[in-house]
Amino acid sequence: MSEALHVHSGVEVGHDVHHDDHHGHHHQSFISKYVFSMDHKTIGKQFLITGIVWAIIGGLFSVLFRLQLGFPGQSFPILETFFGHWAKGGTIHPEFYYALVTMHGTVLVFFVLTAGLSGTFANILIPLQIGARDMASPFLNMLSYWFFFMASIVMLSSLFIQTGPASGGWTMYPPLSALHDASLGSKAGADMWLISMALFIVSSLLGGLNYISTILNMRTKGMSMTRLPLPIWAMFFTAVLGVLSFPVLLSGAILLLFDRNLGTSFYLSDIVVAGNILPNEGGSAILFQHLFWFLGHPEVYIILLPAMGMVSEILSVNSRKPIFGYMAMLGSLFAIAILAFLVWAHHMFVTGLNPFLGSVFVLLTLLIAVPSAIKVFNWLTTLWRGNIRFTPATLFAIGFVSLFISGGLTGIFLGNSTIDIHLHDTMFVVAHFHIVMGVASFFGMFAGVYHWYPKMFGRYLNSTLGYIHFWVTICGAYLIFWPMHYEGLAGMPRRYLDKSIWQAFNQFADLDKMITIVSIVVFAVQLMFVFNFFYSIFKGRKVTSTNPWGANTLEWTTPINPGHGNWTGEIPEVHRWPYDYGKDGREFIPQTEPISASESKH
């Protein structure tokens, strides 16, 4: 039936009729099917592929600036060939370095790990796992992608303008980002950054509202909220976090646009830049940081929660055991979502924040470690006495747990304001958030891709390449980021492109070299994954059963290549929670199976 893509049949959104195994669409042109599609699965793939493209670009940026860090002063003529005056003589110009760092951070945090991760899996999984034909509003859903696309275009164009893209760091603190004279990147590049972010925020609001209303309103019969698979709960909290916090960033960005272009003084006061005395008085540079981190901290959980949800699902399916403590998992997701709004100032302990306020934020920040710990213990117990199948997805999920432990524990250092005085804005912070957010979320994303690839494309990814991908990436991630903590403990500030003039920080040259080499290897292996991804869409081994992993959730009750509308017949009814693995001696019991009289209770 997989060859039947172009055969006529009668399935439309909202129609429950179907004729036979063949399903496809009436007179769908290429444009409406693959470009301006309103099918949540296609939109999900669009998010994923755009995210992959951005990940390659953002990853390449990091390889470039790692070259500078590992081999400061050394000339790479090839750089001049590609980047002209930004890399005169083959060495990276400081403005170029900071532009690369800024774009790397922005692209990976927002475009890859927000849009590419939750955009992809919220779209693909929500309707399939709750038993809906599509999103509440397929049209807004499509718009969500296209706003993201526009944001991408604006950001991408900013790379090519004369003065270069924004270069004030992904956090874009004013006054640096507000003053045209403060750096090259604060000229047109900063405006484009802000416009791109505004478009991006529109995209994520449209997406988020859609995810929330779909989850609340469109569950199939019997799918009560406590029967939802954990990825759905995670996407739900993610969407709530986004809807409540992104508007705050939008306001911060708009005020910054005003300060930049209309002469307002929201963030500016008492400034003499490049010898010019500016008229602005009365603004507060710190205000922007509050607005930024009021989004920024929830944002890191927006990135992490979907990964947590998918990891929970994948660990349970592949250890053939129920997720341990479903309600505790829910409770901790909920606690994290609430607390995520109450800790933002832990990024600002040394800005001159009132010490008492600081101590309140210490308390709330360390409080968030409790639900995080609960999740870890529950994952461990899920593995305990399981019967674990190490698919590539499982391995990435296990890697996720390991990284989340490591990075969560360093969060406890930073959340303690006393220690943060020493560690703030050092390489320790870079190590912390790359492990816990960057790499861990990537692992969650990879786990999701390997696990649901058969659902997305009707084929498998090559698993040998998958295993190589996993092993090189996890070893590489630890080799890169573990020793980086020591640089931070020595006080080495982040965003230093050459440490040779610093007595306290120039002793890590060998380490920086090692890190650079490993990161090039890891980057190459990611390219291999990308190759595997695209190759397997066309040539991968075909999926032959609807439920290749023996999983309970609804997406595996759809045809191998589901058409628009997902189920050919009626949407199945749900009778139980999604984690009946290994119950009463049965390997798995799908959610669609009614509870039998003889079944034991849990």
């Binding site: 400081p94 760091g169 006054p175 640096l176 003053l179 403060a182 750096s183 006061s269 008492d270 400034i271 003499v272 010898g275 005395i277 540079a285 250890s319 341990f324 403590g325 040394v350 800005t351 001159g352 010490p355 600081g358 101590s359 210490v362 360390l366 409790v370 609960i374 213990f377 117990t381 305990w384 399981g386 674990i388 199948r389 190490f390 390991s402 360093t410 406890i412 250092f413 303690n416 006393t418 020493h422 050092t426 040998t464 092993w471 573990w482 020793p483 403990l489 020595a490 006080g491 080495m492 982040r494 003039i501 610093w502 007595q503 306290a504 190459a524 081994r541 693995y581 119950k583 849990h602």
Partner: protein, 355 residues
């Protein structure tokens, strides 16, 4: 040429890997997918255990290699730094234990409970007692950490002692400037619109008498007196900077328009540090820790910690900014009058400065 070789090698390696991967997929199909899967399962289970062991050795090795490169905990050069070192130690011990236990369990369980025909997964959806235990234990551990943390935090951020000396630090792209309050121990007022690159780099208000004796220092190290509390008054002219003092374990942002303060007591002179570190060229460094533009990485300052006598000798050689800018008013240039009358010659800057 070199780049070409690297690319060629990468491409080749990739090609080989890909062929092997494809072949193994075919082999799996021929030999029976299930059997092949079980075999890779064993390999990966074993590798997870290897990863745990090598990882733990790696953690140890990394510490051996790198711990010597950081100023050892407990040897911070300020009183507050010692508190921070102690907090770090407590945290490393607690988190280290948790790290060790959880990582070992994670990889050990993966190895031990890998798929096997002999075992059935244990249906174990929840257990209230366990869940309460592992909510309470982290909560207690964190309470300990928060408790110490907040006590130290208030000690460090509390008011500076009355007898603390005061130094003003101003950051701008990409340099540090210092101002000492002089004999009156009061920093004179300033207003940014009075800035003048030549004779008033900090925008001091000349009609504030407290400014007369304020000493401006730039392009040379800041001097501090050992065992004497010092309060830094921190500001910036253009963008946000940050005064980072890694040896003292202190740090505070320099924000234009919003002055901040930080105080501590340096406990070791530069000379002592030279001996202690065995480095005859040792200097205390001021690093800019907040991204501030293209020269951020090179925004370096130095500090010399010395005895009161040495400090006095150094300070005696300094002239106040006021008299540097208006040498004709300097009593040491003229015989009389001894003290400049502010109405005698009104500096230009004052006319603009209404405040």
């Amino acid at each position: 040429m070199q780049t070409f070789f690297i690319v060629a090698i990468l491409a080749l390696g990739f090609l080989v890997t890909f062929q092997i991967a494809k072949a193994s997929e075919y082999v799996a199909v021929i030999r029976g997918a299930d059997k092949a899967r079980k075999q890779t399962n064993k390999i990966n289970g074993f590798l997870l255990l290897v990863f745990l062991i090598l990882g733990m050795i790696g953690v140890y090795y990394c510490n051996e290699r790198l711990a010597g490169k950081i100023l050892p905990f407990g040897s911070a050069a300020s009183d507050h730094g010692l508190l921070i070192d102690r907090m770090l130690k407590i945290t490393i011990i607690i988190t280290g234990i948790v790290f060790f236990i959880t990582q070992v369990l994670l990889f050990w369980y993966c190895f031990k409970y890998q798929e096997s025909e002999k075992r059935k997964a244990f249906y174990f959806p929840h257990n209230n007692k366990l869940e309460i235990i592992w909510t309470v234990i982290p909560a207690i551990a964190l309470t300990v950490l928060v408790g110490f943390g907040i006590i130290y935090w208030f000690r460090i951020t509390g008011d500076a002692p009355k007898d603390a000396s005061v130094v003003e630090v101003t950051g701008s792209q990409f340099k540090w400037e210092f101002r000492y309050p002089g004999d009156d121990k009061i920093l004179g007022k300033k207003y940014f619109k009075n800035y003048n690159a030549v004779n008033n780099p900090l925008g001091q208000l000349w009609d504030d008498p407290a400014n007369r004796d304020d000493v401006y220092v730039t392009g040379e190290p800041m001097h501090l007196v050992v065992n004497k509390p010092v309060k830094l008054v921190i500001g910036a002219k253009d963008v946000i900077h940050d005064v980072g003092l890694s040896h003292f374990r202190m740090k505070m942002d320099a924000v234009p328009g919003t002055p901040t303060t930080m105080w501590f007591t340096p406990t070791k002179t530069s000379r002592q540090m030279k001996e202690e570190t065995g480095n005859p060229d040792f200097v205390y460094e001021i690093s800019c820790d907040q991204m501030c533009g293209q020269g951020h990485w090179s925004m370096r300052g130095e500090i010399i910690v010395e005895t009161q006598e040495e400090f006095d000798v150094w300070m005696a050689k300094k002239k106040s900014m006021y008299y540097t800018s208006f040498p004709e008013l300097d009593p040491s240039n003229k015989k009389a009058p001894a003290i400049a009358d502010s109405s005698a010659a009104k500096p230009v800057a004052m006319l603009q400065a209404g405040k």
